[in-house]
Symmetry: C2
């Protein structure tokens, strides 16, 4: 497991519960050392007992001999880490975003470097805190490799963590990236105190916009109605755990993006992803009004003026 953030730690716990031998490789050597010494992550999920999980640095991680490499690093770091992986073990990505440098889906960065390396993505409504506390959840494993899909489903599924498979890698990755951007907008609805009616309408239009982009990129429409689409979107937009939702709320209340990140103390993927997603939409010729609005607010446009212009549009057929 590469990435010692909250989702990396929680997923390491899931793997340990299923009887797998896990090494957690932290990008921060100090964090790796503390984790190895105390059996606890000093920064994330500090309540969780990680004993039985080996901890090391990324440089020293036994990647070459691993049966599976799980990546749970921020999208900004994904390309660098994925590009330096030795060995040919299959990769499972837990990261939700696009490559900021190229706009590519993250799974393509893994594949480009080792020919024939199998790659899968796991996505769904999976707040790390809840999973680390042993609460039930469900997720989708997306891969074009049917054999890997079956292996991963067998390795991960348990009464507390239901793992479904879906061959639509493109759709699942786009869902994971786009939902964080919609969550920024949903958080802004909270920050402006516009109410749950407006928030539900925004999320619904947000999923429609995600599905439109997906269709243009060759994804399956059903993926957007599934756990990685609607499921993850509504959790991200509505739960108090949602960091992207919270960041949008703080920004609507007057914080800068940097202040929001500092207040949350963890990566806010939607802020990285929003402009990358907009560029992708322009390339494939799809309009994403909510994503566009998020980008414009991040670039300094007044949120109040934007909201008014959206509500003033002439309504049509749904």
């Amino acid at each position: 497991m590469i990435g010692g953030g909250s989702w990396g730690c929680a997923f390491a716990l899931l793997l340990r519960e299923r009887g797998h031998a896990v090494t957690l490789a932290c990008r921060d050597p100090e964090q790796a050392r503390e984790l190895a010494e105390t059996g606890r992550n000093p920064r994330y999920l500090t309540f969780a007992d990680l004993s039985g999980i080996a901890a090391t640095t990324v440089a020293e991680a036994p990647v070459e001999t691993a049966e599976l490499v799980v990546l749970a690093v921020p999208s900004r770091a994904f390309g660098g880490v994925a590009g330096a992986l030795p060995g040919a073990a299959p990769v499972l990505s837990l990261t939700k975003g696009l490559d900021p440098a190229t706009g590519e889906r993250l799974s393509t960065l893994v594949r480009g470097l080792v020919r024939g390396r199998a790659v899968a993505v796991l996505s769904g409504p999976n707040f790390a805190e809840e999973i680390a506390r042993g609460l039930p959840a469900a997720a989708v494993i997306a891969t074009e490799d049917g054999f890997l899909a079956g292996q991963l489903q067998h390795a991960l599924n348990s009464p507390l963590f239901r793992a479904y498979v879906n061959p639509d890698l493109v759709g699942v990755e786009l869902c994971g990236a786009a939902k964080n951007v919609i969550a920024l907008a949903a958080g802004a609805v909270d920050g402006l105190a516009l109410g749950d009616n407006a928030k539900a309408a925004l999320i619904t239009r947000g999923l429609a916009e995600m599905a439109r982009l997906g269709e243009a990129c060759g994804a399956r429409p059903e993926t957007f109605s599934g756990l990685a689409g609607m499921g993850d979107l509504i959790a991200t937009c509505w739960s108090s755990h949602g960091r992207n939702r919270r960041a949008g709320e703080l920004i609507a209340l007057g914080a800068t993006a940097e202040e929001a990140i500092a207040a949350i103390g963890q990566v806010v993927e939607g802020l990285t992803t929003a402009p990358v997603l907009r560029d992708l939409a322009h390339r494939v010729g799809v309009e994403l009004p909510i994503t566009e609005g998020v980008c414009r607010v991040l670039e300094g446009e007044s949120l109040g003026a934007l909201a008014a212009s959206l509500m003033g549009r002439r309504p049509t057929e749904e």
Copy 2:
């Protein structure tokens, strides 16, 4: 406007804001009298100033001369009220449910009695409290009558209330009925403290189950991804305003259905609708595992045992 509950009052306010002359007909004569005297509803939305809206009893309401009759009565009362309407004015139904006596969609009760009476249904994420406070919302007007659709859209649309039209009356009515049943289950997830991951997964599977029933009944799949489907479902399941969600939570915490209704103090449509929806599903040959589970719990089965059996099922493709 027939029905002086919270949605009836809030919708009367919307109509007043758009400049329409509104008479609010209460089923409770005492409530009608107080409303006429004080300009306030003594029981629901007590903060709202209803001055300018005439108040009367259902018996004395000027239904025959109205340009539009809006029905916002509980589903249990709908057939009785709709069956006694004089005149031939078009009817707009705000009620979300099925006819408990026959399992029919409510709009069919209006049509059966006056040949040629035009009927429309309004649905979407529309908490009355928020609308009465002037917060923005969006809704779908569903009717097979294109002329009425245009008239209603023109009469209702405003910068604060966006009215979309959708010809799929069957789908919109099934959404409005079924979402309250899913919300009971979502509330039970809250009551059992299973977390937001589990809740998001349940709501996602809930919408899939609603769409399956809709397909079997001739509805359009897109309706279930729209404001009346996903939009209303997520608001009902996640907002603190949601009565059905709250009822499910109270029942999971040990209350009987009657105790939950008493605590909430308003109609809880999901409790009426659940068995009616199950019967409909049996008639059209569709499996609704969540609705079935809700019915079994309402019939006395242990919620814990049911949750465990659902999580223990073998996962498949999504």
